[in-house]
């Protein structure tokens, strides 16, 4: 006798209705959401937004703000505003891509480690421990040395750095969900492993996944800036906030704005995403909302 | 004789996020020395809230009115320093969830001992000795060894005994037991209730026993207060409550409970409808919409607790049975 298996309603999936409302209810959540959206917009519309090509040079080196160059010109004659805009774009590109990549690798690994356990879990755990044994920056420095410095390689390096945490988080959630009754029911119904993992357990890990992503994104932004600062990230002429900071080092006393602008941009971006992540976390789990 | 606890018109209202809920409404009762007063009612009827109000353990969003006379102190209007003195020393509480109410990272001995150290200035050694005595008092075997153990190493029943030991440390006059056996197996329940009764006899302690389990009340209580939607709807000795309940709600509760021997045939009778949540204090009887004895006066006036001259009080215009010297 065959019985069709209904798709079980996930108890662990966040209540979508009212999520946006709760998110935007706190002023912090609302403001940070707006800032994040704004930054994303800047990144997407960079070619339209930037007044000039960021690599194009002008003759008035180190000029102050003017009508045509709103934020001034840097030491090589490039328009600051354009560089800032494209810099934000690089940062966000690297940030989002590295998080997505770490998810693409980390989520399946975490799922199978948590679900199958025993030797699969041992192997995955030892591998992640090994990666974790190297402080993120050392790892990135090493990777850059091997792969050569570039925007893409920075993304890969950061992604590799995030994978272990992603695996740990997903593995933890999977372990908890595996023992839930709805999974046992599905197994008893003869559902295949693949369906079980991807249609039943995976949705339950989404809240933790989102939380992890919101923590990793600001870290990626700062990480990319750090690597570029060390010279291991994007190479000229691609602008990056980190490179701008590094270039500005010589001009601390003469033209500090060259250092302040990219630094402020990094801080604002990181802060906005951190706050947004916080608000998202609170909205997803009302129990944790601050009284 | 003056009662150990005299509660008059206790009212508790919660206001959160712009909504107000009236949890307890003009609750009054007395508790005599050495008496076990059972407070029964469904979940949400306000019994736990009223008890927490007595010891000042309600959240700050709670507004409390009324008087709770405990010796020279009015508990509801005492300052926090005085309350802190009384708590643990003269009034003690045993909660329902023993695992949640014991600190997982401190030893049992430490948790019992700190009550004595706080209120009686005992030294570490004295506190440890007293803790050991208390564990023996609550009939936990191998007391000395248990002192060094942690809550998670004990069974549910033993943990509850530890909670009781903690409560008794300073020989309180009043013990508030909030659903002490609800989380335990039936056989373990009996042991705990036996223990409480024994302790009451030994120490002349008064117990406010809060529970929704009528069986526990029948076994252990001397008098009973029945609560519905935040109000006291009936108060009487335990025998009267069970043999001749006056308030239709009490009668309904008894009809809905499976008692050996009573109503051997037929279904358990449900009370139709659900308990209302009050936004403001009730102006009419809250039970009326569900009541089989509903009459004209119920729509006009809120019944006060009426005494039938035998000490049996019921807040009803059309009580189920009236005992007149019967």
């Amino acid at each position: 006798m065959t019985t069709s298996v209904p798709v079980v309603q996930m108890a662990a999936v966040p209540v979508r209705s009212g999520l946006w409302r709760r998110l935007l209810r706190s002023p912090v959540g609302g403001v940070s959401a707006i800032v994040c959206a704004f930054l994303a917009l800047v990144a997407i519309t960079a070619p339209l937004l930037a007044p000039f090509d960021p690599a194009r040079t002008f003759s008035q080196l180190l000029a102050g703000p003017s009508w045509s160059h709103v934020l001034g010109i840097d030491d090589l004659g490039r328009d600051e505003m354009s560089r800032l805009v494209y810099g934000i774009r690089s940062s966000l590109e690297v940030g989002i891509l590295s998080v997505l990549l770490s998810g693409a690798v980390g989520v399946p690994l975490g799922l199978i480690a948590g679900f199958y356990g025993r030797w699969v879990d041992t192997i995955v755990s030892r591998l992640t421990d090994t990666v974790l044994a190297f402080p993120a920056l050392i790892l990135a420095v090493g990777m850059a040395a091997i792969l050569g410095p570039s925007l893409f390689n920075v993304t890969i390096a950061l992604a590799i750095g995030f994978v272990p945490t992603m695996v740990r988080v997903i593995r933890g959630e999977t372990l908890v969900l595996r023992d839930r009754d709805f999974v046992r029911a599905a197994i008893a119904n003869g559902v295949s492993d693949r369906v079980l993992l991807f249609r039943h357990i995976l949705p339950g890990t989404v809240p933790a996944l989102i939380v992890q992503a919101t923590v990793a994104l600001p870290a990626a932004i700062i990480g990319e800036a750090g690597l570029s600062f060390l010279g291991l990230g994007v190479q000229p002429p691609t602008p990056s906030l980190g490179v701008m900071l590094a270039d500005a080092q010589q001009f601390y006393t003469t033209k500090p704005i060259l250092a302040i602008l990219p630094g402020a941009a990094i801080v604002i971006a990181a802060l906005a995403f951190n706050l947004f992540g916080d608000a998202l976390r609170d909205a997803l789990d009302p129990r944790r909302a601050r009284r | 004789m003056t009662p150990v606890l005299d509660v008059q018109d206790l009212s508790v209202t919660f206001s959160t996020e712009g909504r107000t809920t009236c949890a307890v409404d003009e609750l009054s009762y007395q508790l005599s020395e050495g008496e076990i007063l059972g407070m029964v009612g469904e979940s949400g009827c306000g019994k736990s809230v009223s008890a927490m109000a007595l010891v000042g353990l309600l959240p700050t969003s709670a507004q409390i009115a009324g008087v709770a006379q405990f010796g020279p102190d009015d508990l509801l209007n005492a300052d926090s320093a005085r309350l802190a003195e009384l708590r643990g020393r003269d009034i003690a509480v045993v909660f329902q969830d023993s695992m949640g109410s014991l600190n997982p990272v401190l030893t049992v001995g430490r948790q019992i001992g700190e009550v004595v150290r706080r209120h009686q200035g005992a030294s570490r050694g004295e506190a440890r000795e007293r803790a050991r005595e208390l564990l023996e008092l609550v009939e936990i075997p191998a007391a000395a060894r248990r002192l060094r153990e942690y809550p998670h190493q004990l069974s549910g029943g033993m943990r509850q005994r530890v909670a009781i030991a903690m409560a008794l440390a300073c020989r309180p006059r009043l013990l508030i037991a909030d659903e002490p056996t609800t989380a335990l197996d039936v056989t373990v329940q009996a042991g705990i209730m036996d223990l409480l009764r024994g302790l009451r006899d030994q120490l002349s302690m008064s117990i406010l026993l809060i529970t929704h389990d009528l069986g526990v009340v029948a076994d252990s209580a001397d008098r009973v207060v029945v609560m519905y939607a935040g109000r006291n709807v009936e108060t009487a000795g335990v025998r009267e409550i069970f043999h001749a309940p006056q308030h239709p709600y009490t009668a309904g509760l008894l009809g809905a409970a499976p008692f050996p021997g009573a109503r051997a045939s037929g279904r358990l009778q449900e009370i139709p409808g659900t308990v209302p949540t009050l936004i403001e204090p009730a102006r009419l009887c809250s039970f009326a919409p569900r009541c089989g004895n509903h009459g004209a006066r119920c729509d006009a006036e809120l019944p006060a607790l009426l005494d039938d001259d035998s000490g049996h009080l019921a807040a009803c215009w059309y009580p189920v049975s009236t005992r007149r010297g019967a």
Binding site: R126, A136, I146, I222, R291 | L57, A84, F95, S101
Partner: protein
């Protein structure tokens, strides 16, 4: 607990072993012929061949690996390709600096982070609690290199109280040493302090709203007793775990901070040797760092076991 300890120790060893493979493969994965790069300016075939032999690069890969392992285990790290100085020597002089930096940062971060966390938890809902939270978020969002730069601008250039760079060893002058370390330590501490503060606050809030705190109140215990003995003891468990996870970030941060403030520590040694293509140094230093990190993690697990009686007695990490 003994069995659990043994298991963890075994896992750490396996991880260390795997890490050594990663370092070994990593160094050899760098594009370009190793011998060529090590030869530097003297690009004649004879020198290159000699170098190849000297570093054992002409041997079978597996043999090279075992040779590498034996070297590391024996503490013989070889000599730096760029300076010719014993690598072991380099490490020995650089390590204490980074350790001191890390220690100072941890102390600052703990005092400040846990302290503000407790305040934020006890005063939650009030403006001071909210302020503490914002400060913590800020701490997590400020990149080390920028913050370091700002501090230098303010305290070394605008108001010249502290040195902008350089290191004064403890042996020479304690005051001088502290002067050169205080800014880097503060910068390094910010990230850790922020995380500690948020975690302490979150754990304390959870503890303060728990059943056992309600019991403690019902027992009439003092406020100080409830906060510091009951609530804090429980919170420290999670806080320690999280802190342990952050220690890796400390070393990462040290790399940058040492660059900005020019402190000759392990971080700077690593970066410099990578840039200078000094592979023997890279091989040794990377492994040392991995070893240190694995050891610290093991220590954190140990502390965790000591603090939480549930783990100690049940023998399982909850």
């Amino acid at each position: 607990m003994g069995r659990l300890l043994l298991r963890r120790a075994g896992e750490s060893l396996v991880t260390l072993f795997l890490a050594s493979i990663v370092v070994f493969v990593g160094v050899r994965a760098i594009p370009g012929d190793l011998a060529n790069t090590l030869a530097g300016e003297q690009q004649d075939p004879a020198t290159i061949a000699a170098i190849r032999h000297q570093y054992g690069l002409d041997q079978n890969v597996l043999l090279q690996y075992f040779h590498y392992l034996r070297q590391m285990l024996g503490g013989n790290f070889g000599t730096s390709a760029t300076t010719g100085i014993s690598i072991g020597q380099n490490i020995l002089s650089a390590l204490p600096i980074t350790l001191e930096l890390a220690l100072l940062s941890i102390v600052i971060a703990t005092i400040f982070g846990i302290g503000t966390g407790i305040v934020a938890a006890v005063r939650r809902g009030r403006p001071s609690g909210w302020l503490a939270n914002v400060l913590a978020l800020l701490g997590m969002s400020i990149p080390h290199f920028w913050f370091g730069v700002v501090l230098i601008l303010v305290f070394a250039i605008a108001f010249p109280i502290l040195p902008s760079s350089g290191f004064v060893p403890l042996g020479t002058s304690i005051g001088g040493n502290l002067e050169s370390m205080i800014m880097p330590a503060i910068v390094l501490a910010t990230g850790l302090a922020a995380v500690l503060m948020r975690q302490t606050r979150s754990s304390m809030v959870e503890a303060l709203e728990s059943g056992y705190v309600r019991t403690a109140q019902a027992k009439g215990l003092s406020w100080a007793n409830i906060v510091f003995v009951h609530a804090l003891r429980n919170s420290l468990i999670t806080v320690t775990t999280i802190a342990g996870l952050q220690l890796g970030g400390l070393i990462s941060g040290a790399v940058i901070v040492e660059q900005v403030f020019v402190l000759p520590g392990i971080g700077k040694l690593t970066v410099d040797s990578v840039f200078a293509r000094d592979y023997p140094t890279v091989q040794a230093v990377a492994l040392i760092i991995a070893l240190g990190y694995i050891a610290v993690n093991f220590l954190v697990d140990l502390i965790y076991m000591v603090i939480d009686p549930r783990i100690r007695l049940r023998g399982a990490i909850a």
